[in-house]
């Protein structure tokens, strides 16, 4: 009698407990072994690139928030810096520091979520709860500055929306200490944990050559031993003034990716601390002098025509935007009238400011970069996040292309999975940190 064996096809996803994100894996199994994987993506295609062609440059920011929704600030910074490169303008020192602080906070939230979720899928539920607790601390910081927790649209072309609030530094140091405590806790829970170790060690391995051939960047590439980091290779903002290391692994397996992410979080926290020491003076000290007028009252006065002394006053904005008054506006925004919206005092207080405001928000006017094309990479949480913008000299971008760091990682996913066991798919998929928003755009 001849027994026949056949490989089995197993469909995982797009909505599956082990898939945090929408992706579909069609796996060919021989018993428990994975013989082949077909990766199907596109379940969250929201036409980011097409939508950006229909709105003005400044209106693209809400769309960029939702690319990598775990670290939206880095996307904001990347898009703003690409447009600034296209325009050929520079931002004030203080804005650069604020951008770096906020990007690094975002990077930590991203890594926290990734490690928490992948540990949860291996059964370590308490790690997930601890990590979300730490993420909540950082969300509170983000919320204090930007007014929103997640989709914040904080960065502006030529600067940022609001300055740091009074007393922010102390709060930030407190939260950093809290996050460090959580990281130590999690480190004790996971790093010497036999179950976790066995399910991560030597699983999902990829070689450095393969990773480079597939165009993988970020923690995934660094776990294979290649120390490529955009912040070191092409330093942007003020990263060249900061002292930080690029942690690397050796084997490129799941455990290395976990170690690299843990080490990167510590480096990011260090960077935030250094930024607070180096940042040029401004509203961080929190001194507020002069006549403060509530924004609504200022609008009413302007409507009634009482504009004589209005330019002397400062608007008292919402508590979450404490840093929004005029003096701070100038400290964190480039001195470019054709790019940066004027301070609210000027918009309401004099006709030049009002016209400037309208020129920037009306269709057909707005920010109009010269004809040309630029590509600008920043270090996203998952790797090199590059924006490629083609301008035709009008106020709408002709083409916005984002190079998503997840895309090559997912293309190389079969390399990591084939040859392994079916159950290892869960730990590998958790450690690569797929974010559907930037994968499918």
């Amino acid at each position: 009698m001849v027994t026949q064996t056949r490989n089995m096809l197993l469909n995982v996803g797009p909505s599956h407990p082990a898939m945090h994100g929408v992706i579909r894996l069609i796996m060919e199994l021989e018993g428990e072994k994975i013989k082949g994987v077909d990766v199907e993506i596109g379940y969250l295609h929201r036409a980011f690139e097409k939508m950006c062609e229909t709105v003005m440059y400044a209106q693209c920011f809400p769309y960029t928030d939702r690319l990598n929704y775990v670290s939206p600030l880095i996307n904001n910074v990347g898009f703003a810096m690409t447009v600034e490169k296209l325009l050929g303008i520079d931002v004030p020192e203080r804005a650069k520091y604020i951008r770096v602080i906020m990007s690094e906070i975002s990077r930590v939230t991203d890594h926290l979520t990734c490690i928490g979720a992948s540990a949860m899928e291996l059964g370590a539920m308490s790690v997930f709860l601890y990590m979300i607790k730490a993420r909540e601390y950082l969300y509170e910081l983000v919320e204090e500055i930007t007014g929103a927790r997640l989709t914040i649209s904080y960065v502006r072309i030529g600067g940022v929306k609001a300055d740091l609030t009074a007393g922010f530094v102390d709060k930030a140091f407190q939260k950093i200490a809290d996050v460090r405590k959580v990281l130590i806790e999690v480190d004790e829970l996971l790093t010497r944990n036999r179950i976790f170790f066995d399910r991560m060690k030597g699983i999902g391995t990829i070689s450095a050559d393969d990773a480079i051939a597939y165009g993988i960047t970020g923690p995934f590439l660094r776990s294979t031993g290649v120390a490529y980091d955009v912040r070191k290779a092409n330093p942007y903002l003020i990263y060249d003034r900061l002292d930080f290391e690029v942690p690397t692994g050796t084997t490129g397996d799941n455990l290395d990716r976990y170690f690299v992410r843990m080490a990167e979080m510590e480096q990011s926290l260090r960077m935030i601390e250094q930024c607070f020491q180096q940042i040029p003076d401004g509203a961080v000290s929190g001194e507020l002098t002069g006549c403060l007028v509530p924004a609504a009252q200022m609008v009413d006065r302007a409507k009634m025509g009482q504009t004589e002394d209005l330019i002397e006053d400062e608007v008292d904005l919402d508590p979450t935007l404490q840093g929004g008054t005029k003096r701070y506006h100038d400290a964190i925004n480039a001195d470019q009238k054709d790019v940066v919206l004027p301070a609210k005092e000027n918009t309401y207080g004099n006709i030049e400011g009002l016209m400037n405001h309208f020129k920037l928000v009306m269709y057909g006017h707005g920010i109009r970069p010269p004809v040309g094309e630029v590509y600008f990479p920043v270090e996203g949480a998952n790797g090199e996040l590059g924006f490629y913008i083609v301008s035709d000299g009008r106020d709408l971008p002709w083409r916005v292309r984002v190079h998503p760091p997840c895309f090559p990682i997912m293309a190389a996913l079969p390399k990591c999975l084939v040859g392994g066991m079916m159950a290892d798919m869960v730990s590998t998929f958790g450690s690569v940190n797929m974010i559907a928003g930037e994968l499918d755009r």
Partner: protein, 188 residues
């Protein structure tokens, strides 16, 4: 179980209330997480906001075992058939929560690939707007859902963008506009 169909009414009503009370504190949810809202869903579910206080702390990733479908995040045209399949697989009684503005109306993704509101595909009971909604907002929506479960109400209508009205979900297969107009005219 003859008392369930008792014509006196008193007992039936009590059983219904008791069932509703029991159901509303044992919500087994299916989180159909696709996009950004998933981050806030995580925050709501984790210890900081603790959705377990409302009896909804245990996600079941099997449509057969769950009674509330949380649709969390944008639904694209490619995803729509999957969502429909999962909703069809769930056992009665079932409720649907549209979490985030993309599921409510499509949000600012008014483009070729996004479904403008999941209520054009499956009936929705609770809408939680926000992009993404804050955890407090989600908990508010959850409490509204509990009220609805207590009363035993379920949504059975889909939104029809052509007539700008609701239409019965049963007509979704092989549905035509003539059928729908006939239905509106024939209904009292």
């Amino acid at each position: 179980m003859s008392f369930l169909s008792s014509p006196t009414g008193f007992l039936t009503s009590t059983i219904k209330d008791a069932l509703g009370w029991a159901r509303k504190y044992s919500i087994f949810q299916y989180p159909f997480v696709t996009a950004c809202c998933g981050m806030e869903y995580m925050s709501t579910a984790a210890s900081h906001y603790d959705v377990d206080r409302f009896g909804a702390g245990f996600p079941r990733f099997s449509p057969r075992q769950s009674d509330v479908l949380f649709v969390v995040g944008t639904i694209s045209h490619k995803m729509a058939p999957v969502l429909k399949t999962i909703h069809d697989q769930m056992c009665e009684p079932k409720w649907v929560v549209a979490f985030g503005v993309c599921t409510c109306t499509g949000g600012f993704y008014d483009n070729y690939s996004t479904v403008m509101g999941i209520d054009t595909i499956i009936p929705v009971d609770i809408y939680i707007p926000g992009c993404p909604p804050r955890p407090e907002n989600v908990i508010d929506g959850l409490m509204k859902l509990q009220e609805k479960i207590q009363k035993g109400e379920q949504s059975r209508t889909l939104y029809d963008p052509r007539t700008k009205t609701g239409r019965p979900a049963e007509l979704s297969q092989g549905y035509s506009i003539e059928q729908h107009i006939k239905h509106i005219e024939s209904s009292p």
